[in-house]
C-alpha cells in the first residue's frame, strides 16, 4: 500500500515537472511549482520525514510561491518563444541526467537497514540510543539539528540572514535623496494616502 502511494506521488511529481517545463504561461508554472512542493511534502510524510515535509510545505509551496509571484510582477507573465531548440543542449542534458541516474544506482535502497547512515556507530545508532540522555528532547531531529549539529544550524541561520541582507541591499533600502523616496516608497499611498489606500498598489 505504502509503495503504491509513493509510486503515485512520484508519478505526480514527474507529470508536474514536465508540465512546468512545457508551460509558456509563467504564472501557471509558478502555481505548478507550489503544487510540486506540496506533492513532494506528501511523499516526505509517507517516508516518515515529517520535519522535512513540514519545511517543504511551508517554504516550497507557501513562501517561495509568493516570492515567485512577486518576482513575476517585475516581468511579464509570458515566456518569450525561443528561436530554435539547441541539439547540443539536449545532448548535454541527456548525458548529465544519465550520469546522475547511474550515480544513484550505487546508493543504498530506501529504508535499507544496511546503509552506512543506519549502521555507523557515530550516526543514527548514537542519535537514537543516546540523544534522550545526552540532549533530552523526544524529537531526535531537534536534538541533531540544535545540539549535535548546532554549528551547522548556526551557519544555516547566517545564510538566511545573508540572503535577507542581499535582497535588502539590492531592492530594499531607501535611496538617500528625498525626492526618490517619495517616488519609490509605496506609490499611491504617499500621494493618495488620504483616500484610504483604495487605489494603492495597482499592478
Amino acid at each position: 500500500m505504502e509503495t503504491l502511494v509513493v509510486a503515485v506521488l512520484l508519478t505526480f511529481l514527474v507529470v508536474i515537472a514536465i508540465g512546468i517545463i512545457v508551460l509558456r504561461d509563467l504564472l501557471g508554472a509558478v502555481i505548478l511549482l507550489g503544487v510540486y512542493s506540496l506533492v513532494a511534502a506528501g511523499a516526505f510524510v509517507v517516508m516518515d520525514a515529517v520535519d522535512v515535509a513540514f519545511t517543504e510545505a511551508a517554504v516550497g509551496s507557501g513562501i517561495s510561491t509568493i516570492l515567485f509571484l512577486g518576482a513575476l510582477s517585475f516581468t511579464s507573465h509570458k515566456q518569450k518563444p525561443r528561436g530554435h531548440d539547441s541539439v547540443a543542449a539536449l545532448v548535454f542534458v541527456v548525458i548529465t541526467g544519465g550520469v546522475l541516474i547511474y550515480g544513484t544506482l550505487d546508493m543504498p535502497y530506501y529504508g535499507s537497514a544496511e546503509s552506512p547512515a543506519q549502521t555507523h556507530p557515530e550516526l543514527a545508532v548514537r542519535f537514537i540510543e543516546e540523544s534522550g540522555s545526552e540532549v533530552g528532547p523526544p524529537n531526535i531531529v531537534t536534538s541533531v539539528l540544535g545540539s549535535y549539529r548546532g554549528y551547522d544550524t548556526l551557519g544555516e541561520t547566517l545564510v538566511v540572514f545573508a540572503a535577507g541582507i542581499a535582497v535588502l541591499s539590492i531592492l530594499g533600502l531607501k535611496r538617500r535623496r528625498p525626492e526618490d523616496e517619495v517616488l519609490e516608497d509605496a506609490p499611491g499611498d504617499t500621494a493618495r494616502g488620504a483616500s484610504d489606500n483604495q487605489q494603492a498598489y495597482k499592478e
Binding site: 520535519d51 512577486g70 518576482a71 531537534t142 545540539s147 541561520t157 540572514f161 535577507g164 489606500n197
Partner: protein
C-alpha cells in the same frame, strides 16, 4: 505585485482576519513544541511570517507596514543571529565548547534544554523577519 484594495474582496478580508490569529498561534506552537513534535525554529519562522504576508496580500502593504515596520524587521533579523551566536559565546565563556549547552546549567540536560530553546528562538526570529522583509521588498516594487 497586485495587492487588493480595501473595498473589494470582502470575503477574503473577513476570512483573513479570522485566520491570521490562528496562523500566528500555530507558528508559536511549532516554535515552542519543536522539541516534542515535528517543527522547530525554521518552520515556525516561516509560518509566523506567512501570517503577516497573508495580511499584506489582502489588506495592502501600507497597513502591514504600520503594524510591523521594516526597521523593526531589520533589527529582528540581526537579533536572531545574535541570540544564536550569543548562546555559543556564552557557552564558551562558561567554560564549554562553542554551542556546548551542557555548560549553561549545573544539570547538563537542563543546559541542553535552555540552549536549544535559545537557538530555536534565534532561528525563528531571524527566519520570520527575513521572510516578511523579502515579501515587503518584492511587493513594494511593481
Amino acid at each position: 505585485m497586485k495587492l487588493y484594495p480595501r473595498q473589494r474582496h470582502r470575503v477574503l478580508q473577513v476570512v483573513t482576519k479570522l485566520l491570521v490569529p490562528f496562523v500566528l498561534m500555530v507558528g508559536l506552537y511549532v516554535q515552542f513544541h519543536g522539541d516534542y513534535g515535528p517543527g522547530g525554529g525554521f518552520q515556525a519562522g516561516v509560518i509566523f511570517g506567512s501570517a503577516f504576508i497573508l495580511y499584506g496580500l489582502i489588506f495592502g502593504l501600507q497597513r502591514t507596514r504600520e503594524i510591523l515596520a521594516p526597521r523593526v524587521l531589520h533589527v529582528m533579523m540581526s537579533l536572531g543571529v545574535l541570540l544564536y551566536a550569543g548562546t555559543g559565546a556564552v557557552t564558551m565563556l562558561l567554560g564549554g565548547n562553542l554551542l556546548d549547552y551542557d555548560a549553561l546549567a549545573h544539570d547538563p540536560l537542563h543546559g541542553q534544554h535552555w540552549g536549544l530553546f535559545a537557538i530555536e528562538l534565534g532561528v525563528g526570529v531571524t527566519v520570520s523577519a527575513v521572510m516578511i522583509s523579502l515579501f515587503y521588498n518584492f511587493a513594494s516594487k511593481r
